[in-house]
């Protein structure tokens, strides 16, 4: 897929300025109950690009609505939902969505790139978690050893 049809995952890392977000939000709110899919997507996309978790989750919620309401847009929504969950940290969900997308479009560059990034994140976070656990375990073991020694003495 060309780059202009779907954004690369790293574009999601670039937040918009608050003024721009406000513009999009105003448009979204202005359309009221019968908001068009495009406006909703615009707003959701800018929310997902932000660094604020709350905004990202709101963007995810909007995308879920689009997913539910417009069957013909579901395939694209998979990608954006994957990005959203990836940014928030739900790597399992992100992976599920991305895998589904890859099932339908195996040659999608952006999806493959996102898949790669998710894997990187997962492994790095796993490493962090393991490191934390390992550190804790060693500290606990050292404490235990110290206590035992003291009790023996």
């Amino acid at each position: 897929m060309k780059n202009d049809v779907m954004p690369m995952a790293q574009e999601a890392e670039a937040p918009l300025s608050p003024a721009e977000v406000e513009v999009l939000r105003k448009q979204f709110v202005k359309e009221g109950e019968y908001v068009t899919v495009q406006t909703k997507f615009n707003y959701a996309w800018c929310l997902i690009r932000s660094t604020d978790r709350q905004q990202i989750s709101q963007g995810i919620k909007l995308l879920t609505e689009i997913f539910h309401d417009s069957p013909e847009r579901r395939r694209e929504c998979l990608y954006y939902l994957a990005i959203g969950h990836y940014k928030i940290g739900n790597y399992s969900e992100a992976r599920k969505f991305n895998r589904e997308l890859l099932k339908h479009e195996p040659r999608n560059d952006q999806a493959r790139d996102l898949d790669r990034r998710i894997d990187e994140k997962v492994s790095s976070e796993g490493a962090i978690g393991l490191a934390i656990i390992g550190g804790a375990v060693t500290v606990g073991a050292a404490l235990l050893a110290a206590i035992v020694k003291r009790s023996r003495q």
Binding site: V5, E11, Q38, Q54
Partner: protein, 660 residues
């Protein structure tokens, strides 16, 4: 990703965060084994997420910049979750049970933790937040159960976004300056082109301009196609809704038809019950009429009657029926009679609905359009009635309560009491909506359309009324018009005809009944045609109030007329019906009868007329043949037909309905 890396602190401070993460991860590990196998896979995923979330929470907690952010949004996160919950309430996809159980477990762990320091509360709040946030949208497994069809949209969502906000879409991750620089460059492009005007626009400049314009046009095209897409979607939705509505309407119609049928059978059963109850009390004539009435009722369910036969007789009037009118073959028929009453009949169930009280004298002429009825009476007034609220089952009037209670269903049965006084007949109150006063003598002819009515009276005038204000807006003096016209027109052949003055002085008595000054009239927009006692048909312009044309020909008072775009048909006491061609003003055809014509109506195929005999004549205009409808036992006074149903009222006091 880089920002998260830099927030890491050295190990000692990690201890607390690590302990929380270790506790959550170990306890979640134990709970995994504790859960049933079905949820294990989902739980592993969620537990892992929780672990990552804990790691991230720890990391986030340690960065002082992010921590204060969480205290503030806590309060309106509640509202956020409620907002998130409510729109999704209608959606069938919901959070999975496993997630809910995991969350419960998480919260239990929070409560069990001994330390209550701000850090843990902060992180526990975060974890709870994380949990609630996770619950705020449906899980992926539920969502992915939905079908994911092939995407037919010509333009992807992102392309639409890029088209609308090109500056935002082209940005790279770490340079907001570049974005503004791009924007400035675009503006600068146009500015520099002006600056370059002196040096002459260079080729590269022109190419750059062209590129820019091409991009703009592309963007516009994309916007156009995305908007067209949305419009198509909405069109499809509209079509779906319209089809749904059609289906529901047909369903409703079927239910309505069923209900009508059931009501008819109920009525028939009621009637038979009543007949059995009251069988011994009535006289023979009533019994006979009841039987004919009852026999006719089951037949009314049959939609197809034999042509040229009377399929229903409405009895109830005590004296001659003067005029009838109805609005629909299965609707309401109104008849006025010499017994002083005006009765409304329900043609669907062939029952008298009641009498319309109000006039103090006989009603000579009436017109019924849909639900509004206009009646002109010998007391000089014209009354307007609204018949929409007449209930199909009439409630008995207070005077007839004792008599009505004998009937089990409480409905009055005119078939049984046609010679009874009005106590048995319910009075339809609250129908009269207006009164047009002004005429000084009997109102003998009436015609109305949606907003205007014209009436002719024996006070030798015709009045035009505005129905909304119920005021007379124009009075046409027939005498004056006839005199002024008569002096100018060549009336050589008409000296044998008495002038209008002499007619009126003559104490108007003719062979049958006193002739009316204005026998009949009809108007259409501003053209009014009137037939008067002198046998002349006059055309009036309602805007000027002048008669611009006179059609002489009849030798007796005109009793009925009707016109359409081409022809005017008039009937008179001279026993003829004349068909006039309005374009030439000459007689197209004359139908001769044996007795004065009392009423007529025509359409494109036939002319139906009644005269002083008991038969109704149908003249077929295409075959020039006459046929008869026999059934009445006295002269027929009025005929009205619509579609395939003809109603006739005669001096024998009954109204008959015929199938044409």
């Amino acid at each position: 990703m880089s920002t998260k890396e830099t927030s890491r602190r050295p190990k000692p401070n990690n201890g607390q965060g690590a302990s929380t993460s270790r506790m959550s991860s170990t306890s979640s590990a134990t709970t995994i084994s504790g859960f049933s196998r079905e949820y294990s896979t989902a739980l592993v995923g969620t537990a892992r997420d929780k672990a990552f979330g804990a790691a991230q929470a720890a990391r986030d907690f340690l960065t002082p910049t992010t921590f204060p952010d969480w205290t503030a949004p806590l309060s309106h996160l509640e509202s956020l979750t409620t907002v998130m919950f409510s729109p999704l309430a209608a959606h069938p996809v919901y959070q999975s049970e496993s997630l809910a159980k995991a969350l419960q477990l998480m919260q239990q762990q929070q409560r069990q933790r001994p330390s209550s320091s701000t850090s843990s509360s902060g992180s526990s709040a975060e974890l709870v937040l994380h949990g609630t946030l996770q619950q705020a949208w449906p899980s992926s497994s539920e969502l992915l159960k939905a079908e994911i069809p092939e995407s037919n949209a010509p333009l992807s969502l992102f392309q639409g976004f890029a088209a609308t906000y090109p500056s935002l879409a082209n940005s790279t991750p770490n340079t907001p300056n570049k974005r503004s620089r791009n924007r400035r460059r675009k503006h600068g492009g146009s500015a520099s082109s002006v600056a370059d005007g002196e040096t002459g626009r260079s080729l590269t400049q022109k190419i750059a301009d062209r590129e820019q314009k091409m991009k703009e046009s592309n963007k516009l095209q994309k916007q156009k196609s995305s908007t067209a897409n949305e419009i198509n979607q909405i069109n499809m939705q509209i079509e779906e809704l319209v089809n749904k509505r059609k289906a529901l309407e047909s369903k409703w119609a079927k239910l309505e038809a069923k209900e009508q049928q059931l009501l008819l059978t109920i009525d028939a059963l009621n009637g038979s019950i009543v007949a059995v109850e009251e069988g011994g009390e009535n006289r023979d004539s009533d019994v006979a009429s009841t039987k004919t009435g009852l026999q006719d009722e089951p037949d009314s369910e049959d939609e197809i009657y034999e042509r040229g036969t009377c399929y229903k007789t409405l009895e109830g009037h005590a004296d001659d029926v003067l005029c009838v009118d109805f609005n629909h073959p299965k609707g309401i028929l109104v008849s006025s009679s010499m017994d002083g009453t005006v009765r409304a009949w329900d043609l669907h169930r062939n029952r008298c609905l009641g009498s319309l009280e109000g006039h103090t004298s006989l009603v000579r002429c009436m017109q019924l359009d849909n639900a509004t009825l206009l009646t002109g009476s010998d007391d000089g007034s014209i009354k307007q009635w609204n018949l929409t609220d007449i209930s199909p089952v009439p409630t008995p009037s207070s005077a007839s309560s004792t008599a009505a209670s004998a009937v089990s269903s409480g409905r009055s049965s005119p078939e049984l009491s046609n010679d009874d006084n009005n106590n048995m007949l319910p009075v339809l109150n609250d129908c009269c909506t207006g009164n047009l006063e002004g005429h000084q003598a009997e109102v003998t002819a009436l015609y109305s359309d949606q907003s205007t009515a014209v009436s002719g009276s024996n006070d030798k005038t015709m009045k035009q009324w505005d129905l909304e204000t119920q005021q007379c807006v124009l009075t046409l003096d027939v005498m004056w018009a006839s005199n002024s016209a008569g002096s100018g027109s060549s009336s050589s052949g008409w000296r044998s005809m008495k002038s209008l003055d002499q007619w009126s002085l003559d104490g108007i008595s003719s062979y049958f009944e006193p002739s009316d000054f204005v026998g009949a009239l009809q108007f259409w927009n501003f053209a009014l045609a009137s037939g008067t006692i002198d046998g002349k048909l006059r055309m009036w312009d309602l805007r000027t109030g002048q008669a611009h044309r006179t059609l002489p020909g009849h030798t007796g008072p005109i009793t009925c007329l009707q016109f359409d775009e081409v022809h005017l048909v008039s009937g008179s006491t001279d026993k003829t019906v004349r068909i006039w061609d309005l374009r030439t003003g000459s007689v197209f055809d004359t139908l001769s009868f044996n007795s004065p014509v009392s009423s007529l109506q025509f359409d494109s195929g036939r002319i139906i007329s009644s005269n002083a005999t008991e038969n109704i004549d149908i003249y077929n205009r295409t075959s020039f043949q006459h046929s008869n409808l026999q059934g009445h036992t006295a002269p027929v006074n009025s005929v009205r037909f619509r579609d395939t149903v003809l109603a006739s009222g005669s001096s024998d006091g009954v109204v008959k309905l015929w199938a044409l």
